[in-house]
Every structure is written in structure tokens, then in C-alpha cells.
Amino acid sequence: MAELHIYDVIRRPVITEKSSIQSDELNQFVFEVAQEANKIQIKEAVEVIFEVSVTKVNTMVMPAKRGRRGRNWYMRSKQWKKAVVTLNEGDTIELFNP
């Protein structure tokens, strides 16, 4: 398997009510990442792209959500991987604070 490029590791920032609380109060920033990326790759990608130092990475696989219309099941959202990246104190990512 070819090496995952750092810009392929991070898909997008997740900006929601919960994530803004995390970034404001816990200095944690939330991303959607590639399913096959591991914590080490994520740490490296964030450090390189945003020029910050990462102290901790938590990952989780968010389950797909199914919906139903009558007899038919359909996918509301696909399964995806979420990474909560805790930064060194003093570091921040501007993307979340437009």
C-alpha cells in the first residue's frame, strides 16, 4: 500500500457546536481523517500543515447512519473516522477561529 500523503490524511475540519467548545476550552481540534490513517500519521500531518505541536491524538470511527423510508433502508451518512487532536498549550489552529 502506497504511503498516505499528509494532505490526504486530513480530510476536513469538523466545525460543530461540540467541536467549538472543545477548541475553546480544551485546546482540542477535531478533524475528519482518512479511514486508514493512524494516530502517528495524523499527529505528523497536523504538525506539518498547521505548524503546531501535538500532545495527544484520539481517534474514533463514527458509525454510518441509516435512515428508512417505508420498506427501504438508505444511508444517511457513511462511516468516517474522527480525530480529536490536543495541542500543546499556547498553540492554536486559525481555521477554527475565522
Binding site: V14, I15, T16, E17, S19, S20, D24, N97, P98
Partner: protein, 485 residues
């Protein structure tokens, strides 16, 4: 907060208000909070998105606009309080600059200002109304007709008969004032039917067409001079055609004067009128509902008195009008454009309701006459300005002359009015017990009083030194109350 006030020439003022940046920032945050409740941002519940997210989602412009609106109102109030300016109506935010310092500019229409000038020196000659014998005779004659015995007659038409006829009158000559008459006639026609071009042409020739109309065949009641003579001797169902020429320059016939016309008349009914003899019996019958019947002489005297009263009233109100006109000339009246606009709006509403009673709306009217709303507004502008000047000067005069109507005076007037209604008096008393009815009455009385007052000034009955005390206004108003009865 830094407020500057300038007066502009068309009786408005401009506030320029500088605000601290923090205050604007605060306003923006509250505005964002308000907006957040309306928009749905994915990832956030309604109203829960932080300011920064909102800012990037809505754009700064939208938030700023809302903030300026709200902050503008607040600042406007403060600015008004501090500037001691009396606004006539709501001001408008004209300009807003965020850089280098948030600055608001408001344009405020000012309360109209009236300087009366030397109105006390206005003198206008007064012409008393004269009631001549003929007017009294006419009035008595009308009473006689009302009491006349009417019988259907099978004799041919004679003078002094009342006839019911169908009539068609046609012009035989060209209309000298064709242009003016035509446009008006056409406008009226067009209201009813659309293809007017040819219709109007032929209809213009016919100036009267009625299936049933009643005439009294006496020299001063007939529709055209010579009409009676032409009809005398006709029997029921007889048709007569004849030509007549209206005399020149008779005000009575207005646009018919000098025209050569043809009448086509069919007699439908002939009635004789037997007038009661002019004696005391007649007078007694006229006044039979009264306690003590009058003699003919007394009736004449009373008729003359009544006529004189009416004529006096009219002369006086015309005089007051004239005087007021002069006083307006003396005075300097300044008012903002907004007031004129309001007045025009008011007038147009009036016109609209008038037209509606005749079955068309203002929109229809505009279509028919081919005028735009703008045209109409311009047309009514002059009238609006005049009305404003009128009422402003009158108001100011009321203040200057200290004309005041107290409650006792209103009660007195109510009693006077109510007394006329006998049994229903209580209902009317109740009506006047209402506050707005009382206020209306007060306004009426004040207008009357001030009219009398300025009439007195213009007749030179008020000495210049007299300081216009309240007492002097009271008797004047009492007088007017009696006249108006």
C-alpha cells in the same frame, strides 16, 4: 458619543453622531445573536453558533446592517434628547460610516415654525350682507308652492302648470368652448363605456335627455327662456319640437348661454297648482306646528330675519377667510417636506373615498385620465401647501390670541345642541359625553372663536395695546355660538 446638529434649508436638521467602536462592536454581537436564532447552521443548534462562525456564515455585512439599524434607533433617541430639537416626524438614517470612527447621519424633519408678523395691523374692509325684498319674496313663494294644491288636469298646458315631460335637448350650433367641455365630457363618458370616440361626438350635441322630468312653467323656473310659451296649449302625449336661443352672458345658464338649441318634448302629465292666497291664514298654516301661529307680516319679518342670519354667517365666514389669507401673507411659515407629503397623502385618500362613492377607485381614475400617481401628487401639492399654511397660522393665532374654550363653555354648547332634539336629548347627551366628541366640539368652538377674533382685528375693533386676555375671547365665542344656531 459626539453629536453635531446642523440646520438644513428645507426645514430639516441633520445630526452627525460619532459612536465608540466598542459600542458598535457590542451592537454587532447582539445583532448576531438575534440573527443566529433565525438561520440554520449545520453542526449547531439554532442560536448556539458562536459569533465567529456566524460571522463567516452570514457575512459581516448582514450583521453590520442589523446592528446599524438597532443602534441607529437608540442613538437617534439619545441625539434627540440632547439636541433639544422638536421633530415633526420620524427621522431617517441617511448615512453610516464605519471608518475611521462609526458615524451616523440622521435627517430629521422639524416641527413647523410660524412667525405671525404684524398680524394685528391687518385691515380688510367688511361688506355686510344685504337681504333684498326679492329674496324674501322668493322664500315666501317657495313656502306657497309647498302648500299648493296639486290636481291632475286634462286641459291643455297653461302657464303656471306643473308638467311632467320627456325631453331631449340638442345643440344646433358649434360649441365655442369646445375644447374644455369635450375633455371633461369625455372623461365622464369613458368611466362608463370604453369606445368613446364617436359616441362622444354625437353625445356632445345632446345636452339633456331625460325620460321623466318635472317643470313648473313659470318664467323664472323654466329650463330655457321661451320654454313655457312653446309648450302652452299642448295636450297629454303631444309631442312638440321647437328651437330656442339662450341669452348671452347669463350666469344662470353657465355654458349654455348664447347657444342655439332644439328641444324635443313629449308631454306626459299636466298638473295644475293652486297656490294658497297670501294672507294670515297662509301664514298660520306655515307655522301651524308652532305654539302661536304667526300673521303674514310676522312671517315675512321672521323669514327676513332668518335669511339675514344665514347671509350674515356666510359673509362673516368669507370675511374671516379673507382676513386669514391676509394674515398668512404677513406670516412666515416654515415646515418640512414630510408635512407636505403627509398632507398630499391625506388629500389623495380623501379623493379616493370620494371617487369610491361614485363607483370608481383612484386607480381607475388614474387610468381614465392617463395620469400617474406622480402627476396627481404634483397637482395636489399646491392645495396641500395652502391647507398647511392655513391650519398652522390659525393654530399660531389661537395661541397668540390666547383663545381657549373651557369645559363650562362646551357644556353650555352641548346643552344648546341637545335642546333641539327634544325626546332624543338623552341619547345625544350621551354621545357628547364621549371624549372625542367633546374634543371635536372644542375644536369647532375654538375655530369659531378665533375666526371671530381675527375678524374683529381686521375690522379694527381690537386696539393694538390690548394684550389679548383670555376674558376677551370668551364673550367673542359666545357671540359666535348664537350666530351659528
Amino acid at each position: 458619543m459626539n453629536i453635531q446638529t446642523e440646520r438644513l434649508e428645507n426645514h430639516t436638521a441633520r445630526f452627525t453622531v460619532e459612536v465608540d467602536n466598542e459600542r458598535l462592536e457590542k451592537a454587532k454581537r447582539t445583532a448576531a445573536g438575534r440573527l443566529a436564532k433565525k438561520v440554520n447552521i449545520p453542526g449547531f443548534r439554532k442560536g448556539k453558533a458562536p459569533y465567529k462562525v456566524l460571522m463567516s456564515y452570514l457575512g459581516e455585512g448582514a450583521i453590520l446592517e442589523d446592528a446599524v439599524d438597532v443602534l441607529g434607533n437608540e442613538i437617534y433617541k439619545d441625539a434627540l434628547d440632547q439636541s433639544e430639537i422638536e421633530p415633526y416626524g420620524p427621522g431617517s438614517l441617511e448615512d453610516f460610516k464605519a471608518e475611521p470612527q462609526p458615524t451616523f447621519q440622521f435627517i430629521v424633519p422639524l416641527q413647523p415654525a410660524v412667525t405671525l408678523g404684524d398680524y394685528r395691523s391687518v385691515r380688510v374692509p367688511y361688506e355686510a350682507a344685504i337681504v333684498d325684498d326679492k329674496a324674501v319674496d322668493d322664500a315666501i313663494e317657495t313656502m306657497r308652492e309647498r302648500l299648493a294644491v296639486i290636481e291632475e288636469s286634462h286641459q291643455p298646458v297653461a302657464a303656471a302648470n306643473r308638467v311632467t315631460v320627456s325631453i331631449t335637448g340638442t345643440f344646433l350650433d358649434e360649441d365655442p368652448a369646445a375644447d374644455e367641455a369635450e375633455t371633461e365630457a369625455e372623461a365622464a363618458d369613458a368611466a362608463e363605456e370604453n369606445d368613446e370616440a364617436e359616441e362622444a361626438e354625437s353625445e356632445n350635441k345632446v345636452f339633456i335627455q331625460r325620460d321623466e322630468i318635472m317643470f313648473l312653467l313659470s318664467p323664472d323656473r323654466e329650463p330655457a327662456p321661451g320654454f313655457t310659451d312653446a309648450l302652452v296649449g299642448a295636450t297629454v302625449d303631444e309631442r312638440r319640437e321647437f328651437e330656442l336661443t339662450y341669452p348671452e352672458d347669463e350666469e344662470e345658464f353657465q355654458n349654455l348661454s348664447g347657444r342655439h338649441v332644439k328641444f324635443d318634448v313629449t308631454v306626459k302629465k299636466i298638473e295644475t297648482m293652486t297656490m294658497p292666497a297670501l294672507n294670515d291664514d297662509f301664514a298660520a298654516r306655515v307655522t301651524e306646528s308652532e305654539e302661536k301661529p304667526l300673521t303674514l307680516l310676522e312671517l315675512r319679518i321672521r323669514t327676513r330675519e332668518n335669511l339675514q342670519k344665514t347671509a350674515d354667517e356666510r359673509a362673516q365666514s368669507e370675511y374671516a377667510h379673507e382676513v386669514l389669507h391676509e394674515m398668512i401673507h404677513q406670516a412666515t411659515v416654515a415646515f418640512p417636506e414630510a408635512l407636505v407629503e403627509d398632507q398630499i397623502q391625506h388629500l389623495l385618500q380623501h379623493v379616493d373615498s370620494d371617487l369610491r362613492q361614485r363607483g370608481i377607485t383612484l386607480d381607475d381614475y388614474m387610468k381614465i385620465t392617463g395620469k400617474t400617481l406622480e402627476d396627481l401628487r404634483n397637482e395636489y401639492r399646491g392645495q396641500a401647501v395652502e391647507t398647511i399654511q392655513h391650519s398652522l397660522v390659525l393654530q399660531e393665532l389661537t395661541k397668540a390670541e390666547k383663545v381657549e374654550i373651557d369645559d363650562a363653555r362646551i357644556d353650555e354648547e352641548i346643552e344648546k345642541v341637545v335642546a333641539q332634539f327634544g325626546e332624543q336629548a338623552d341619547a345625544f347627551r350621551k354621545f357628547y359625553g364621549r371624549k372625542d366628541a367633546r374634543e371635536n366640539l372644542r375644536n369647532d368652538l375654538t375655530t369659531r372663536a378665533i375666526n371671530d377674533r381675527i375678524a374683529a382685528i381686521a375690522k379694527g375693533e381690537v386696539s393694538d395695546a390690548e394684550p389679548a386676555p383670555t376674558e376677551s375671547a370668551a364673550p367673542a365665542s359666545t357671540e359666535s355660538g348664537e350666530v351659528s344656531e
